[in-house]
């Protein structure tokens, strides 16, 4: 087992990724309908891919390939 603590950079990336997950997937939905257009959802996914790839890379560098095939966004985001 590697006991080396995460670097400050790795922690920052994890926290940033977690924050983005919260902003995009949680919070008050007041209008009763999803207001992000289909095209925008794809772009959210694309942008998240770019950003979270760095998190993914950090994890992979720490020998965590088990998430290599995990979807970048949960399928439930793809609504409407």
């Amino acid at each position: 087992m590697s006991d080396a603590p995460l670097t400050e950079y790795e922690e920052h990336q994890l926290v940033l990724g977690d924050l983005l997950n919260h902003v995009l997937d949680k919070g008050l939905v007041i209008s009763g309908q999803v207001t992000i257009s289909i095209a925008d959802i794809d772009l959210v996914a694309l942008d998240l891919r770019l950003l979270l790839t760095s998190v993914q890379t950090a994890l992979e560098r720490q020998n965590a390939p088990r998430y290599a095939d995990a979807p970048l966004l949960p399928s439930r985001r793809r609504r409407r």
């Binding site: 922690e11 994890l14 983005l20 902003v23 995009l24 008050l28 007041i30 209008s31 207001t35 088990r66």
Partner: protein, 261 residues
């Protein structure tokens, strides 16, 4: 012009001096943030006008999501607790936004009351992937090329091994989060657990402001549980505890840990 909603605040709290200089806060796309006062509802909505021309430039969604959160942070910095809106909601105009909020005013006031005085803190389980990193496990979980002998069988075996590792991780993560819960229970009001799209586990807690530093200390003291290193996130707006405000009421996926506060 379309309106972007950032968060809601109790109108009374926003009036207390020092009054936040909302006009100095910039939101998504650098748009100035405005405050819509719903006097009868007792709610303030922080919004900005969406510049259609700029919104066509969608190459920076992650940055815009962070800009959205920065406004929620600015609201949090006023001393009140905002109910953060999920990123991406837009209304036809201010009147449309106000109408939607007013329709749900009782439920929204209850929600504002529920999170009052609190912030959201998070604990992330950062995992080094010990088993998955071992060469034999890497080989066992490798997806074979179609040209390899017995590729179909090896593929299914790789899936089975990976599923087993995931199950094991889930059990260990649950156990670690249970330990975290038991330690922070006296400090928090509610808890919400989640696994993000990358498979990482986390717990979010609704923490009274005065307990934030004790919360941090408690997590730091734990440091590591098994192969998981604990990473603290927050304070942030209580995204995990505000759910949806439908016509029927409000739903959320959190669980109460300590209703005695």
């Amino acid at each position: 012009m379309p309106t972007h909603l950032y968060c809601l605040l109790v109108a009374d709290a926003a009036e207390k001096p020092p009054l936040p200089d909302v006009s100095g806060v910039l939101g998504v796309g650098g748009a100035p943030v405005r405050r819509l006062r719903l006097g009868a509802a007792g709610i303030d909505a922080w919004v900005s006008t969406i510049d259609e021309a700029r919104s066509l430039d969608r190459g920076d969604t992650a940055a815009r999501a962070l800009a959205h959160n920065a406004v929620v942070d600015a609201a949090l910095a006023t001393g009140g607790t905002p109910v953060p809106a999920r990123f991406g909601q837009r209304f036809a105009d201010d009147a449309d936004c106000i109408a939607d909020i007013e329709r749900r005013a009782p439920a929204l006031r209850a929600l504002l009351h529920r999170v009052a005085g609190c912030v959201e803190m998070g604990v992330l389980l950062a995992e080094r992937g010990v088993d998955a990193g071992r060469p034999e496990v890497l080989e066992e979980t490798r997806v074979p090329r179609s040209s390899e002998a017995h590729a179909g069988r090896r593929y299914l075996e790789a899936l089975r091994v990976r599923a087993h590792i995931d199950d094991q991780t889930r059990v260990e993560a649950d156990s670690a989060l249970e330990r975290v819960s038991s330690v922070v229970r006296p400090l928090v009001r509610e808890e919400s657990r989640a696994q993000n799209a990358q498979g990482a586990w986390s717990a979010s807690h609704l923490v009274p402001r005065e307990a934030v530093s004790r919360y941090r200390d408690a997590i730091r003291e734990l440091g590591r549980i098994g192969e998981f290193q604990l990473v603290v996130a927050g304070p942030r707006g209580p995204y995990s505890f505000v759910g949806e405000a439908s016509a029927e009421g409000i739903g959320h996926d959190s669980g109460k840990l300590n209703s005695g506060d």
